[in-house]
Chain length 773, copies 2
Amino acid sequence: MKNYLKHDEWCIIEEGFNREFNEITESVCSLGNGRMGQRGNFEETFTGKTLQGNYVAGVYYPDKTRVGWWKNGYPEYFAKVLNAANWIGIKVEIEEEILDLHKAEVSDFKRVLNMKEGYLQRTFTATLPSGKQVKVDAKRFNSIVDDEAGAISYSITPLNFDGKIVLTPFIDGDIKNKDANYDEKFWDEVHKETAFAEGYVEMVTKKTGFHVVTGQKFQIFQNGKAIEFTSFPQKAEKYVASQVTLSAKANEATVLVKYACNLSSENHAISELLPKAKAYLARIEAKGFDKMLEEQAEKWASKWETNDIVIEGDVAAQQGIRFNIFQMNQTYTGEDARLNIGPKGFTGEKYGGSTYWDTEAYCIPFYLATADQQVARNLLVYRWKQLGKAIENAQKLGFKDGAALYPMVTMNGEECHNEWEITFEEIHRNGAIAYAIYDYVNYTGDEAYLAEYGFEVLLGIARFWSQRVNWSEAKKQYVMLGVTGPNEYENNVNNNWYTSYFAVWCMKYLIEVSEKIKASNPERFQELASLTNLNETDEFDRFNHIIRNMYLGEDKELGIFLQQDGFLDKELIKVSNLPTQERPINQKWSWDRILRSCFIKQADVLQGIYFFEDDFDAETIKRNYDFYEPMTVHESSLSPCVHSIIAAKLGDKARSYEFYQRSARLDLDDYNNDTEDGCHITSMAGTWMSIVKGFGGMRVRNGQVYLAPFVPENWTSFSFKIRFKGNLLNIKTYAHEVLIENILGDDTTIFVHGNTVELKEKSTVSIEQKLLN
Amino acid sequence: MKNYLKHDEWCIIEEGFNREFNEITESVCSLGNGRMGQRGNFEETFTGKTLQGNYVAGVYYPDKTRVGWWKNGYPEYFAKVLNAANWIGIKVEIEEEILDLHKAEVSDFKRVLNMKEGYLQRTFTATLPSGKQVKVDAKRFNSIVDDEAGAISYSITPLNFDGKIVLTPFIDGDIKNKDANYDEKFWDEVHKETAFAEGYVEMVTKKTGFHVVTGQKFQIFQNGKAIEFTSFPQKAEKYVASQVTLSAKANEATVLVKYACNLSSENHAISELLPKAKAYLARIEAKGFDKMLEEQAEKWASKWETNDIVIEGDVAAQQGIRFNIFQMNQTYTGEDARLNIGPKGFTGEKYGGSTYWDTEAYCIPFYLATADQQVARNLLVYRWKQLGKAIENAQKLGFKDGAALYPMVTMNGEECHNEWEITFEEIHRNGAIAYAIYDYVNYTGDEAYLAEYGFEVLLGIARFWSQRVNWSEAKKQYVMLGVTGPNEYENNVNNNWYTSYFAVWCMKYLIEVSEKIKASNPERFQELASLTNLNETDEFDRFNHIIRNMYLGEDKELGIFLQQDGFLDKELIKVSNLPTQERPINQKWSWDRILRSCFIKQADVLQGIYFFEDDFDAETIKRNYDFYEPMTVHESSLSPCVHSIIAAKLGDKARSYEFYQRSARLDLDDYNNDTEDGCHITSMAGTWMSIVKGFGGMRVRNGQVYLAPFVPENWTSFSFKIRFKGNLLNIKTYAHEVLIENILGDDTTIFVHGNTVELKEKSTVSIEQKLLN
């Protein structure tokens, strides 16, 4: 837990250079535009603690799997997000001395991530070993308008001397992933070239053959005017640069404006990469830095228009939630159905792969409520595109006849993970993928999606579950053996309630969807049946037999669902009885001890109750919550939000807020001592859910919005916006009043605390908060 | 399964060079003397398929652990048996051509491992690319008399030319382990020197700092007489050689006799290694090759005198069992309590570590019955010496107050293994280690061992179990959660019957041993209590409470013990219903599928019944055997022998023999396609047990020997020898008669098929076989 970043409503501010935390600040200050991302690294040389990170969406490398003991079925490769060419670099030399904040004395240092307008600014004064002082003001952004480009304005002012300044903006493609399994470099050089104040490196990834051209073009200004200069080209392996020697006067700024682009063969023909990159840079240079930044600010403003959550009375909370929303929008824009949301987004390279079940379980609700429905739809189509691979993946594990097991971690549909207890057994991910289809259709009403894409995915998943269970002669019921639930502090358990409940739901939903398609579009159903080799009678009979006869563990006496077989044999201890020095247990205890303890990493039974809350009465929910939560250590960033939502539902406002707080500033405060590896992007969506589904009590049932908002005690008010079908609503909640504004769209009706509220177009309704407060 | 080695009663014979199987033959033809070992590699250059292997007992290297995903508690290092300097090398050049069987035409090739006398001989004729032909006769052994030395007689005869032969005997220490985790070399050079026909390399292992001096000294003979010659010294990194150029005549043999030694700092002061090595070589050279070989043959004869098993009517079986006995004796001589029995002995480097539970569960009975009791005792003392490390190991996993968890794999007492489901959970190994103490005392009557060493180990183990179980409020009994039983095709299960039964037994035995020591030597007990901080009342109360209230799963209806919780939920299929192309399942099925199947890798419940057979009636044993064996795939080489013994006990002679056959020629026939990695040394002890405990029905109860022999149908007779207290007995079994000879020792009484048999000294008793045949 750290507290060195200043609280501010719109900015993340580091004042004074915190060298020891530099990798954390770099993660936090990452910039992205869905297409390319960049950690908050320095433009100039820095030999201190840093994790240089530049990422190009969709470009990955299958790194050879590293294991201690090979198990049959492990994937041979682990697809990793690639650290790509460094495009921000500007080497700065002052009379033979290299500007390097690791070696200079630094004062007036300030690094500001401006979330309102989407740029990073860094200002400082450096005193070099020789005593020369310079002032630097560097501003940069990854453009969300020109989304294959970034721009930098780098201003340097001598303070106590007149003299020579050498600026060498460069592109460096000689980059290695920190987490390469065998210490390899993943890029080969294809081509490089330089021209006046311009340079390009084309590289290709080993094995996958992605080509990326990274280019730069720059201008130099003195006294506010573009100057003429001579640039000396430099080349090295995977490296181009242009060296410019300038004479500078004390207190006169020299400004280098650098435009850079990353064009990848994911989006352009290989042969066109280089000419297109040149044209791209010419175009944005003509547009100019200021205009680009202006457009950036406008586009961010329009995003905030529909995305923003405003908290009154708590600056830290306001900053936390805006940071989360900002990062979610930087990571995924929803414009490309081949992309997805990596757990670290563009903020680090840890974990590899880009897609976990986090997308469906945590991110889809965020995008549904804050973006065009196409965004969530693209995330669903992503899985549909990978159905073939999911079927292959299941085949490798011995399943057949179109059964599909989606990977735990993937980039291109192939499994990347290699821990048997997760790779092969944490199969509940299949459930979340099916649920996201339900969630999307329920929210948007876009039932056509089911016939177009949804059915095939749902059938593959239902088939998997129907083969994954087996009939227990002992129980005379179906059982599901050898699984790992969401709580990864249990491995290879039998009859994990969450997984089994989800499996049954998937089969039920598939049958329901089938009936819908049959009724609305019988021809399409025939087409789908033929496409999927569906033997409707036999297969649906089996599904129905399983639905009716699935074993779901329950303890009648305690009135709870059993997380898994044997859970009650454990020594049941509350987390509050664990000595502080033994926590987090995943750092203090050996793995076997964690496994046989009762402690829960993240919601498991409660995760199921969260998804299927309408299946259970409030008493049942409360009993399970009261039983399981006290044993939950929340050592996954995905855990607190689910508990926050359930606590809110149960009327436990204080605890709901407490859970919210555990994840809202996770990265800003480096709560888990791991922000240096990158930010927890997907859990940010969970924080958003805590507010909207938790404090806001928002649900969609039968095509309508239900709200049950309350304001946490420490806040004056909070407001969030949701898009729902044709409407954009703003819900502002005070202790004694809820104001609901119908910003966009026709008249509509919603439910607040169970009561119908009519919302006229472009008007605001005030509702007294008396039921809950 | 291969069948290229000739059947012979005393020799392993390869006729004709089987290049593709060379690594297998190298494993099979390994030589060892308990102190150093050497695979059946060629002396001269060989550029074909080979795994060069030279091993020095007790010299290991802690290789940095390699894992895919780190789990808390994993050991940082994995101690590996080191591949050490090559001492057998002789480079042979014939008129500029290097003799290399990979490049020559080879005829009349024969490689013979003579198990009766303990040497390896290789003869062949090679036609070099130039057309020159030479005949070679190479004989070598690792001396069991001078057990830090080996000797080679290498005879080369030109067949179709007179000419120059250059012989360069060398020591090459520039050796790498094939299985090094990070491709490192583990040896550094300390010193090297050469003299006339002599040379030494001293090397030190990285990290562990073991020094080893490997030296050579040689003579050359022509026409049967030592000749004078000039030797040119050669040196390279970690390498010394002496080059000798000779003129040879067609059909006249040139014989190089090379003496080599490996002296390690495990046995000598570092400063004395080099002078001692020189003295050693001078001494054995003076003794001479023929004399050394004669002594070798004599010492092997004396071993066979007490070890041999003679099978009449089945040469393949005879060869198989002798090979097993031979390898057991080559691997461990019992003279050094710091050493133990690696699963591959000196025949390969796979697995690393030297000590598994195989030692206690499989090897101790062999050494008890065939060697001086000091040998088994040393194996027990080995564990006593490592008790401190076992306590540390348990502490790392969260146990306390002297609880000891012995490692799964070790070299120096520290855990080396890193698969959580085995490292942390396959804790039944602790049981076998306690059982070996019981086994030893039961067999030898050496109760003094308990007070001297046994008690401390037993207490550490009992303490571990008492902390490892927990009280289940649901069951109102103690349970043992999260374990892996001997059947490694189940991981992280609850209430594994074998482990829980063993835990209870360990606590009972500890209490029993405590009572014995208290009665016989109360002062020593006080001393031990104080040494171990024993709180007798509290600790023994807890032990007794667990003994009385331990949950042991059982299905009353089926009348079987439950391998683990939930076993009966599985789809119970017989192995006979598995398609052949799906076996072995560990190569054909993904790991999760194996885990949730009912298939059993090796005896689990039956392993428990094997150890504690007198606790169960025959019907119970039969029911469990009939239930579990049909689901057992025996994909561990340690499985069939246990089943063979139980089948024999149940009177199922045919199946007992069938199981015996599965492991008896495992390596000779390369049954599992893995002999090239080395031989399965510890399972060889299991094969011996199949005969002695299975077909011979031998048991020791109340200090007396019980036999129930029968002869398998395919054999005329078999006989085995056992040492028991003062006696050496030979038991020869025919279909209708058992002959028992009291070779050594006083009059004694044994039991055959339940009947008392009086054995006078130096006499033979014949018993009619009618009860069983």
